[in-house]
């Protein structure tokens, strides 16, 4: 496996504009001769499908949902960053670039992050033009708020529903192109495999989730925008259907998978209430603008929060990180919550929770102002917990949320398989070891609207591959393998439900490869996962038939991939003998418990190559070179 990042030469400010000029173009009349497959209709996928179709490419767009608008981008609450500097508070492209590199704990590629900061300006403009109803001031101008890891106000938002509004924007652009016939949309079709011809990605195999039909589709290039893999932990803030299958099948076909151990544990989620729990609900990080996080100073203090006097409370983020306080980055805020709870000072059932308290903000601004900012979040909290957060502090606890790792891509967003491009959360490129709040929406839309439309032309103009069709052996073989796997899952008829395996794997991953990891635990997980996998293939029980709606069967296929993927994740976490961002190895910490990086040995992206089922994958390294930001220990104190 060769990792050529294709970072353009020249000063960082002009790399992207020079590169756009250097990329070969496909002339307008020729674009309609090319077909591009886009898998996924979240921000990255919908934006890419719409933009490519507008350019004139023929686009085949796939989603496993009943509608493109259901993609999980919709659930993003807080906002989207852009270096507009509308607040006149010192923001700039360079500052957003710097904050993102630093926030990512110096494990992202400089050139990609700079490009992201540059195009952040265009994203806001594009979304406004589409009619995204961002929050506005009485002047009619756009409003901003602050987010973790930044000291400027650069986050654009639409109440607590920013992801929904941005996705509806991208969905409407996509719908327009579907209506015009330029995009052929396939709903309820899940990608099951990638098809390679002459080493190039030329198509996919899908299963129709309503009829069970297995089909294949051919194209000149494939874009995966299939999201992240937090559901490897079973409980996460991801939607129930989010999975790693598309990315993992591409990995098994030869795409390198980068930094799978970089997982983000979001600090503000509603704590687990019992064994029945099926998912965890996020409370937007924007709440930390006005909420103060605390635990009792005394261990095992069971008094209701209102009876704990001010001087017996520990506002631990404000105490430990006075300059960023409650707006410290996510990895730091999460670990601090875990420390407080490990120390016996957690609150609520089981002691796995901390308070997020709005009393000060309500007395300063009034209940009405707080309701205008966070009303829907407060309502959601009350529906789930039965408690009124205007009166009683919220209880929150960290939960798996976002995955910075993903398929390795070069500067053009192309994986190690020629023609296979990877966008949004599914790739590894921009967030290093920790993503800052309000940056996921930015990256998804940047990749979809403003990067892939340029770089895919460069690939198509140079690749010059011959025509393919789905009657070719490569396609037929991939269809057959998928059919066999489905038939096998249905035929096992064992004793355990797919969910029970998912839960078992998830608990193990959370315990051994979650917020904190150590060598011994990771080795135990690497021993244990193959045993769970083996039992799965002997004892899973998938009822119903394959030629109909069958959610058990869908889940079983996804769990089967998680059972292989989890092992690779642990290998990655075990090999990285340092702590950085979301990857916290207990052996590597400073005296006051902060992550301790090892830049001499680990300033690289770790890229894994598949070598066969149950075999340790091969590690490849892309060295990370920092020419514009000085490597330093992150400090938010």
């Amino acid at each position: 496996m060769k990792l050529d990042s294709k970072i353009p030469s020249g000063p960082i400010e002009s790399k992207w504009s020079n590169h756009k000029f250097d990329l070969k173009l496909v002339n307008p009349a020729n674009k309609r001769k090319y077909t591009v497959i886009v898998v996924g209709t979240g921000l990255a996928g919908a934006a890419a499908a719409a933009s490519l179709a507008e350019l004139g490419y023929k686009v085949l767009c796939f989603t496993y949902h009943d509608s493109p608008r259901r993609a999980h981008s919709i659930a993003a609450q807080g906002g989207i960053n852009a270096a507009k500097n509308y607040q006149n508070d010192g923001d700039s492209v360079h500052r957003l670039f710097y904050d993102t590199i630093k926030g990512g704990d110096f494990r992202a590629r400089e050139a990609n992050v700079h490009r992201l900061a540059e195009v952040s300006l265009n994203i806001i403009d594009q979304c406004v033009a589409q009619g995204v109803p961002f929050a506005r001031e009485y002047s009619g101008y756009l409003s901003n708020r602050s987010f973790g890891g930044a000291q400027v106000s650069r986050t654009f938002y639409a109440r607590g529903q920013t992801g929904q509004q941005l996705l509806i924007g991208a969905y409407s652009a996509l719908s327009k192109m579907v209506g015009s016939g330029a995009v052929k949309l396939f709903t309820r079709k899940e990608m099951m495999d990638l098809v390679l011809v002459n080493g190039h990605a030329r198509g996919i195999v899908t299963r129709d989730l309503a009829t069970g039909k297995i089909e294949s589709f051919a194209a000149d290039a494939v874009c995966l925008a299939t999201g992240g893999y937090s559901n490897v932990f079973y409980l996460s803030t991801n939607a129930m259907a989010c999975n790693v299958t598309a990315a993992f099948r591409a990995y098994k076909k030869g795409a390198g998978f980068a930094n799978p151990c970089y997982t983000q544990i979001h600090p503000t989620c509603i704590p687990v209430s019992g064994d029945h729990q099926s998912k965890l609900t996020l409370m937007s990080e924007s709440l930390r603008n006005d909420g103060r996080i605390w635990v009792p100073k005394k261990q095992g203090d069971n008094r209701p929060p209102s009876q704990i006097p001010e001087d017996e409370r520990d506002y631990y983020l404000e105490r430990k990180y006075p300059s960023f306080g409650n707006l410290s980055p996510r990895d730091i805020a999460s670990r601090s919550a875990k420390e407080a709870c490990d120390d016996g000072r957690g609150v609520g059932p089981g002691g796995r929770g901390v308070y997020l308290d709005f009393a000060d903000a309500i007395s300063r601004l009034g209940e009405k102002a707080i309701s205008a900012r966070y009303g829907n979040l407060f309502d959601m909290y009350q529906q789930i917990t039965g408690e009124n957060p205007y009166k009683v502090p919220m209880r929150i606890y960290p939960a798996p949320h976002y995955t910075m790792g993903g398929l390795w891509v070069d500067y053009n967003l192309m994986s190690t398989i020629p023609g296979l491009h990877v966008l949004g959360e599914a790739n590894f490129s921009d967030h290093g070891a920790n993503r800052l709040g309000a940056s996921a929406l930015m990256q998804g839309l940047a990749d979809g609207y403003f990067v892939i439309p340029y770089t895919i032309g460069g690939y198509l103009a140079e690749a010059k591959q011959s025509a393919v069709n789905t009657d070719m052996t490569e396609f037929k073989l991939a269809v057959k393998q998928t059919e066999e796997q489905i038939a096998k899952l249905i035929s096992i008829k064992g004793k355990r439900s797919p969910t029970s395996f998912h839960r078992e794997l998830g608990l193990l991953m959370w315990d051994k490869c979650g917020m904190a990891r150590n060598e011994q635990g990771l080795k135990q997980a690497i021993d244990k996962i193959p045993a769970i996998r083996e039992e799965f293939w002997q004892n899973v029980n998938v009822l119903g038939d394959a030629a109909n709606v069958n959610q058990s069967l869908e889940l079983a296929g996804r769990v089967a991939d998680f059972l292989e993927f989890g092992e690779m994740m642990c290998h990655d976490a075990l090999h990285r003998n340092e702590s950085c961002g979301g990857h916290f190895r207990e052996e590597y910490q400073t005296e006051d418990g902060e992550a301790k990086r090892n830049d001499d040995e680990f300033a690289y992206a770790g890229v894994w190559e598949y070598t066969g089922l149950g075999k340790k994958p091969n590690l490849h390294k892309e060295p990370l070179v920092f020419e514009n930001v000085k490597l330093a220990t992150r400090s938010y104190k």
Binding site: D66, D125, Y171, A239, H276, S278, K279, Q383, S552
Partner: protein, 248 residues
């Protein structure tokens, strides 16, 4: 708590459906309604019975995937809430609960409680957008938008496309869904150039899909988990009339 569930089971679109009755025991009041159904399904699988198919995804009340008619009310008894955000503490021990799919000609049942809502997508594809190709946009602050307009547009844009309005309506009308989009885009300065073409195209597609007409019973607003107002329908009708008079 212990509950008796009467659930609609239907093999596929053409098969005849029927209610089946299930007992679920030891349900915690902290469970969501869908987690209660998860418990039922795990027990069915363990007994070797085919689980009940129902749609759901984000379980945070925003994706619009979940869609159950609970005791005859879309998304159940709690106002302004999706099924996934409905919690079992709203029910009592010993309750009997009837669970059905959305029922509308334009939303055919695929299996059990799963219906096909792609008619909504086809309506959007006819005009539920502002044609702003990528790269066309002026600076975001070049288009100031009065806050009241922006706020109303936002409230209309909060629609999650779940279809509860259709399920609640005795005519199975999609007027609230269509009106929400027409209003969201029609209130914004960016949406003006296509305003009348949009409303005409969307309303015509709505009719073609087999949705009924609006007779102002307001059940849609009552069922809407995002509490979208029927005043959007009045606004849509005005725009539609103007479009017809102007000859769009």
């Amino acid at each position: 708590m212990n509950l008796t569930l009467h659930i609609w089971r239907q093999e596929n679109t053409t098969a005849e459906g029927r209610f089946s009755t299930y007992r679920v025991e030891e349900i915690s009041p902290d469970m969501s309604f869908l987690e209660m159904l998860d418990v039922l399904n795990e027990r069915l699988i363990n007994k070797g019975e085919v689980p009940v198919e129902f749609e759901h995804d984000c379980r945070e009340g925003i994706c619009g995937t979940c869609s159950l008619m609970i005791n005859g009310v879309p998304h159940g008894p709690e106002k302004g809430t999706t099924t996934c955000q409905l919690h079992m503490r709203k029910f009592k021990d010993g309750d009997e609960i009837t669970i059905e799919p959305w029922r509308a000609k334009a939303f055919p049942v695929l299996k059990d409680l799963v219906v096909d809502r792609s008619a909504f997508d086809r309506i959007i594809q006819k005009g539920g957008y502002i044609s702003a190709n990528t790269g066309n946009a002026p600076d975001g602050n070049a288009i100031p938008i009065p806050k009241p307009d922006a706020d109303w547009a936002f409230e209309a844009a909060a629609c999650i496309g779940c279809g509860a309005c259709v399920a609640a309506c005795k005519n199975a009308s999609a007027s609230l869904f269509v009106a929400a989009k027409v209003t969201h885009l029609g209130l914004l300065p960016q949406g003006q150039p296509e305003r009348y073409l949009r409303v005409t195209a969307m309303v015509e597609q709505m009719d073609q899909e087999g949705f009924g007409s609006c007779t102002n019973t307001y059940d849609c607003e009552g069922a809407c988990p995002k509490q979208i107002s029927v005043r959007n329908i009045a606004r849509m009708n005005r725009d539609y009339l103007k479009a017809k008079i102007m000859g769009n």
